[in-house]
């Protein structure tokens, strides 16, 4: 049987990390035999009196159960979370879902992230043994997240950052142009992992396919409203799949098949707020 009851989670500390975004450290009592969280998986965070919502790990729980997560203030639950001080007790269930595919020996990965979509990829970058390139798109400099991590990653990996609005108000690079350049100059990577607003991910996937990369080598992390995290409440559907158990990482060809079979078209309009 599954357990729908959260375990207590302690808010250890946080710092501001991007506009309206905070980098939180949490600690949960480790359970014997608990599976280790994989990059791209998520957990359900309970704010007592408000509810539960899904978030991804920036760093997964260590032996003491300490982990971190990047959270942007968006709705009522995050507003309540941002009002809490270190020491507050929250609830935790997880890890849930299917994370990113592992890189095979010697495989080169290309990561494309938009906005907060950088957070679910952090574990991939931090644990990468082989070569890795990263394109990170954000609305403007203030919206960029994971500043400390990016500073570290710059030293080890090829990292291109683009801004819809640069410091002078004009666009500074463009994620799709950066993608085309990387694919032209360095050839096709073994896999592309992409996370950001859905229209950006779809544009990236199409860009990759135009360059000859098969859809089966492209992975997207899909966001859906999630309530249970265990495939029961029905909210997170994508076609006949449930993103909380079958995703959130989907292979692009599988994602297209799911949408086509369910008669739905892929999302193309940008969300009203940036992720």
């Amino acid at each position: 049987m599954i357990d729908l009851t959260p375990r207590p989670l302690r808010l250890l500390e946080f710092y501001e990390d991007g506009e309206a975004a905070r980098h939180f450290s949490f600690a949960v009592e480790p359970l014997a035999g608990e599976p280790a969280a994989q990059p791209g998986q998520f957990f359900m965070l309970a704010v007592p009196g408000v509810g539960e919502a899904a978030f991804t790990y920036v760093s997964p729980p260590d032996a003491e159960g300490r982990f971190s997560a990047l959270i942007r203030r968006t709705g009522t639950l995050t507003a309540a979370l941002f009002a809490l001080a270190p020491g507050a007790v929250l609830g935790y269930r997880g890890p849930f879902g299917r994370g990113w595919p592992a890189a095979g020996p010697g495989e080169r990965l290309l990561l494309v992230a938009g906005g907060c979509g950088l957070a679910p990829l952090a574990g991939v970058i931090d644990s990468a043994a082989g070569e890795l390139q990263l394109i990170y798109a954000a609305r403007n400099r203030a919206y960029q997240v994971l500043a400390r991590e990016r500073a570290r990653w710059h030293e080890r990996h090829a990292l291109v950052e683009t801004l819809d609005q640069g410091d002078d108000g004009r666009p500074q690079g463009h994620p799709l142009e950066a993608l085309a350049r990387v694919l032209d100059e360095d050839g096709l990577p073994a896999k592309v992992l992409c996370c950001g607003p859905e229209p950006l991910m779809l544009a990236v996937a199409r860009g990759c396919i135009d360059h000859g990369l098969p859809a089966s080598r492209i992975w997207l992390s899909l966001e859906r409203r999630m309530h249970c995290g265990v495939g029961l409440c029905g909210h997170c559907y994508i076609g006949s799949s449930y993103a909380c158990v079958d995703g959130p990482s989907y292979r692009y060809d599988e994602y297209l098949r799911l949408l086509a079979a369910s008669g739905q078209a892929a999302a193309t309009a940008l969300p009203p707020q940036p992720c």
Binding site: M1, P8, T78, R224, V230, H235, C236, Y237, Q264, C275
Partner: protein, 334 residues
Amino acid sequence: MQAYELDSPERLRNHLARERLLYQPQADGQGALRWQRLDDPAQPFVVPAEPPVFSAKAFFFAEREALFRYENGRFIALVPEARPQVLFGLAACDLTAVAYQDRFFAVDPHYQARRAATLLVGLDCAHSCRHGFCAMMDSGPEVRAQTADLILCPLAQRWLLLVASERGAEVLAGLALQPAPADWAQQRDAQALQVAVEQGEQEEIALGCAALNGETVDSQAWEALGLRCLGCSGCTSVCPTCSCFAPLQQPSAGGVVQERVWDSCLYQGFQQEASGHNPGATPGQRVQRFWYHKFGEDFRQRFGRDGCVGCGRCDAVCPGGIGVHQVMKRIGEP
């Protein structure tokens, strides 16, 4: 299957009610049938001509229930206390739906606690209800053996009692019963065939299903149907296989209780995210979703059968006139 002859369903019912809470479909005094607790053994058992307004799903998947309590920094699981109960007179379609949900909620402790404490007594239909098409959906008219503990079959002159599970055999202890005549199975089959004939070919369901899976229905057709959806959740409430729920936080003395309540994929906010992004933003998308969940081939693969059991309740309840027959007819039209 062991088969007995039974002089009256009430004798079996009252025997089972001795050690369990017993529920049966009863008139609610306002023209509808509802599952109600039997509190007077003298009350007759009336064979329903139409299915009860609500299926039996709420007995296991509660319309509203507490999951856990938060108090003084602790989360306390609230698993329901299940009392032995018997559902007496479940039609084949509703039993197929219970089997479908048994599988869907296989690891849900709340559902399974209630389900394990429940004895299911099925009832073969001697006539088709108004909107039913169970024969086509492979869920009736006769009760499927693996979905019940005991099965009642009303024949012209007598009742048959069939034992469909070990538990069903055990609960008959102490009840004097005569074996059924040798040709009981033929008589039962003939009656089921007659009900299937009453339901007819159901061509619109077949065509609608083919169109839905052939991906030939365009979004405009769905949006036209969506215009008629009031988002009232009538269909999802009466549907015996619908299982979506939403969380609800309730203040309680000294803490908070996390509940879950039935939800509906037809509600506009069902998939609305905090960012404002809503993958199911239009009524047509949501109507399409509902029917894809019931008849989509991928779901059939995933859950072992169609999500629709052919009970026809959505036809009876939808105020917009987009129950299963109307929807399938429209999308199946060339």
